[in-house]
C-alpha cells in the first residue's frame, strides 16, 4: 500500500491539479469499483450463505459452502482442474521451448517477427471454434481416425475423455507460452554461450547451465500464465471432455446456469478459484524476486 511512502500523496506536477486527476481517474475507477470490486466482495458474502437460490434473502451464516468443497466428489473435481492446468503447463513448456528457441536464436533474422506473428495468429480466432475444430478432428469418424484407418492402424477414442482436454488446452495456450519464452530468449546474452563453448561445455551443458538459468524468469512467467488460464478454462473441458471431465470452472457454471442452482456454493468455489490464482501469482513474485537477487 502507498501509505509506506509519505511523498506519494503529493502530485508530481507543481500546480494543484486535483480536478484534472479526478476527471482522468474517476470514470474508469467508478466502473471498476461498481462492476469488479463490489461484485467480488458480494460473492464473498454470498459464499457464506448455504443453499441460496435466486430471489432468496442474503443472510450470511457460516462456512458450510466451504466445507462442502472438502467432500470427496468436489475435491476430485478440483484435483482434476489442477491436473489439467499442470499437465497443460508442462506440455506447453516442452512443446513451446524448442519453437521459441528456434524462432529467437536459429531462424533467419529478418523472418523472426513474421514467424512469431504466424505462430500466434490462431490466438485471434474464436476460442469456441478452435475447440470445435478439435471435435471434428478427434471424434470417432473424424479426421484423425479416418487417417489412422487408411494407414491400417487401430482407431483412437480420444473425444469426451481427458486426452482431448489436454490437446485442446495445450493448443489454446501454446501461443502464449511461445510469446513469453521468445521475449525472454531474444534477450539472451550469447557471449555467455560462446564463453561456455570456449571453456569446453558440450551443447547440452551450455543449455542447462547458461540458457535455462538466464531464461528462468520467462519460463516462470509463461508457466504461470498458462497455469492460471488453464485453471479457469471452461470451454475446452466442456466441449472436449465429456461428462467425465468435470472441472472447477464447469462446476461453478452449473451452480448458476446449469441444472443444480446453488449460488452460495458456486460463489464459494469462485472465491477458491480467485484465491488459487492469487496464490500462484504471489508465489511467482516471491520466487521471481529470489531469482533476480541470485543473478
Amino acid at each position: 500500500m502507498s501509505t509506506k511512502v509519505p511523498s506519494e500523496s503529493r502530485p508530481i506536477a507543481p500546480t494543484p491539479q486535483w480536478l484534472q486527476a479526478l476527471l482522468l481517474l474517476v470514470p474508469a475507477g467508478v466502473w471498476l469499483a461498481l462492476l469488479l470490486v463490489i461484485p467480488t466482495l458480494l460473492i464473498f458474502e454470498l459464499s457464506l450463505v448455504p443453499n441460496i437460490k435466486p430471489g432468496d434473502l442474503v443472510n450470511p451464516s457460516g462456512l458450510g459452502n466451504y466445507w462442502r468443497i472438502f467432500q470427496s466428489d468436489v475435491l476430485n473435481v478440483i484435483g482434476r482442474s489442477l491436473l489439467f492446468a499442470t499437465g497443460t503447463t508442462l506440455l506447453c513448456l516442452l512443446m513451446g521451448f524448442p519453437v521459441a528457441y528456434w524462432i529467437a536464436l536459429l531462424s533467419p533474422k529478418r523472418w523472426r517477427n513474421l514467424l512469431l506473428l504466424a505462430f500466434v495468429l490462431p490466438l485471434w480466432t474464436s476460442s469456441l471454434l478452435r475447440s470445435y475444430a478439435w471435435i471434428s478432428i478427434l471424434r470417432p469418424t473424424g479426421v484423425l481416425n479416418t487417417l489412422l484407418t487408411s494407414l491400417g492402424l487401430p482407431t483412437l477414442d480420444l473425444l469426451n475423455r481427458s486426452p482431448a482436454v489436454f490437446i485442446g488446452m495445450t493448443y489454446s495456450l501454446l501461443p502464449y507460452m511461445v510469446l513469453i519464452l521468445y521475449a525472454s530468449l531474444e534477450k539472451l546474452d550469447r557471449r555467455f554461450l560462446e564463453a561456455a563453448a570456449d571453456l569446453g561445455a558440450t551443447p547440452p551443458q551450455a543449455f542447462w547451465k547458461v540458457t535455462v538459468p538466464q531464461t528462468l524468469p520467462g519460463i516462470a512467467a509463461g508457466s504461470l500464465l498458462v497455469f492460471i488460464t488453464g485453471l479457469g478454462d471452461f470451454i475446452n473441458p466442456e466441449l472436449l471432455g465429456g461428462t467425465s471431465s468435470m472441472t472447477a470452472a464447469r462446476l461453478i457454471y452449473n451452480q448458476f446456469l446449469g441444472a443444480t442452482q446453488n449460488w452460495g456454493f458456486g460463489s464459494a468455489l469462485s472465491m477458491v478459484l480467485i484465491l488459487a490464482v492469487s496464490l500462484a501469482i504471489a508465489l511467482l513474485i516471491k520466487y521471481g524476486d529470489k531469482n533476480a537477487s541470485s543473478l
Binding site: L23, L24, Y101, L106, L128, Y132, A249, V277
Partner: protein
C-alpha cells in the same frame, strides 16, 4: 543436381520440431476450411466442392442477429473503454495519490482473474441491485475487461514517452486540455488503436461473461455457436468459422502492423 557444397543446409532438430508445431497450430484451421467446402460434412472423406454451407450460413437469421448483437456489444464496450481506459492510463502515469496501488491493482484484476469468476460476480451483483439482464448489461460487463486491456497497452506506450513533451506544450501556452488532445493523444494513438483491436477481438470471443449477463433478451455470436456445437456437429458452423477466422485474422494483421510500425518509428 547437387546443392552447392559451400552453403550446406544445416537443419537443426529445433527447426524440424517447429515446423511440426506450426502444423499443429494450423491443423484445426485447415480442417475447418476443408469441411466448409465439403459436400459430405459428416465424414472426413472429400465429397466434392460446394458453397452451400456458406449460402446457408448467410441466410441464417439467428446467426445474423447474434452477429449484430455481438458487434453492438463489442463496439459499445470498446468505444467506452477507448475513452475511459486511456484517461485512466494517463491519470495513473501522471499522478501519485493515496491508494494508487490499490487502484492500479484493481485495473489489472480483469487480466488475471478467470472469466468464470468475473462472470459469476457480475451476475450476482446485477441480481442484488435488481438490474434486468439485457444487451446493455453485457456491454457494462465487457467494458470492465476491455478498459483494462486498453489501459494496459496504452500504459506500456506511456512508459516509453518523453515526459517533457506536455510540459513544453504548456510552456508555449497550451492549456492542459490542448496539450492532452494535440500533443499526448497523437503520440498515444497507435497504442490506443491496437489496445482497442485487442479488446474488440476479446469481446467478440467472450462466451462466459456474455452468457452470465445476457438474460433472455440477447444472444451473442459465441452464445449461439456454443448452443449449436453442444447439440451436434453442424456443417454450417464450419462456414461460419472460416468467415470469422478470415475476419479476425485481418484484424490481427492490422493490429500487428500498427504495433510494428509504431515500434519501428520509435526506434528511429
Amino acid at each position: 543436381m547437387q546443392a552447392p557444397s559451400k552453403s550446406p543446409l544445416r537443419i537443426s532438430w529445433q527447426a524440424l520440431f517447429s515446423v511440426l508445431m506450426f502444423g499443429f497450430m494450423y491443423l484445426p484451421i485447415l480442417v475447418l476450411g476443408f469441411y466448409s467446402f465439403n459436400q459430405s460434412p459428416n465424414s472426413a472423406q472429400w465429397g466434392g466442392f460446394t458453397l452451400s454451407w456458406y449460402v446457408k450460413f448467410f441466410n441464417d437469421s439467428r446467426i445474423l442477429s447474434a452477429l449484430s448483437d455481438s458487434l453492438t456489444v463489442a463496439f459499445c464496450a470498446v468505444g467506452i473503454s477507448a475513452i475511459i481506459g486511456t484517461l485512466m492510463a494517463v491519470g495513473l502515469a501522471r499522478y501519485r495519490f493515496p491508494g494508487k496501488q490499490l487502484y492500479q491493482g484493481a485495473s489489472y484484476l480483469p487480466l488475471i482473474i478467470p472469466d468464470i469468476a468475473i462472470a459469476v460476480s457480475t451476475l450476482v451483483f446485477l441480481a442484488v441491485i435488481a438490474v434486468p439482464l439485457s444487451l446493455w448489461t453485457i456491454v457494462a460487463a465487457h467494458t470492465v475487461f476491455c478498459l483494462s486491456y486498453v489501459a494496459f497497452v496504452v500504459s506500456t506506450r506511456l512508459v516509453n514517452l518523453n515526459p517533457h513533451l506536455e510540459e513544453a506544450a504548456q510552456d508555449l501556452g497550451a492549456t492542459p486540455y490542448q496539450s492532452l488532445v494535440r500533443v499526448l493523444l497523437p503520440e498515444l494513438m497507435p497504442a490506443i488503436v491496437s489496445g482497442c483491436l485487442l479488446a474488440f477481438v476479446l469481446s467478440m470471443d467472450d462466451f462466459l461473461i456474455a452468457s452470465f449477463t445476457a438474460g433472455g433478451g440477447a444472444t451473442t455470436l459465441p452464445m449461439e455457436i456454443f448452443s449449436r456445437i453442444r447439440t451436434s456437429v453442424k456443417p454450417d458452423i464450419n462456414a461460419l468459422s472460416v468467415v470469422l477466422m478470415v475476419a479476425s485474422g485481418a484484424v490481427a494483421l492490422i493490429a500487428e502492423t500498427i504495433r510494428y510500425r509504431s515500434e519501428k518509428k520509435r526506434l528511429q
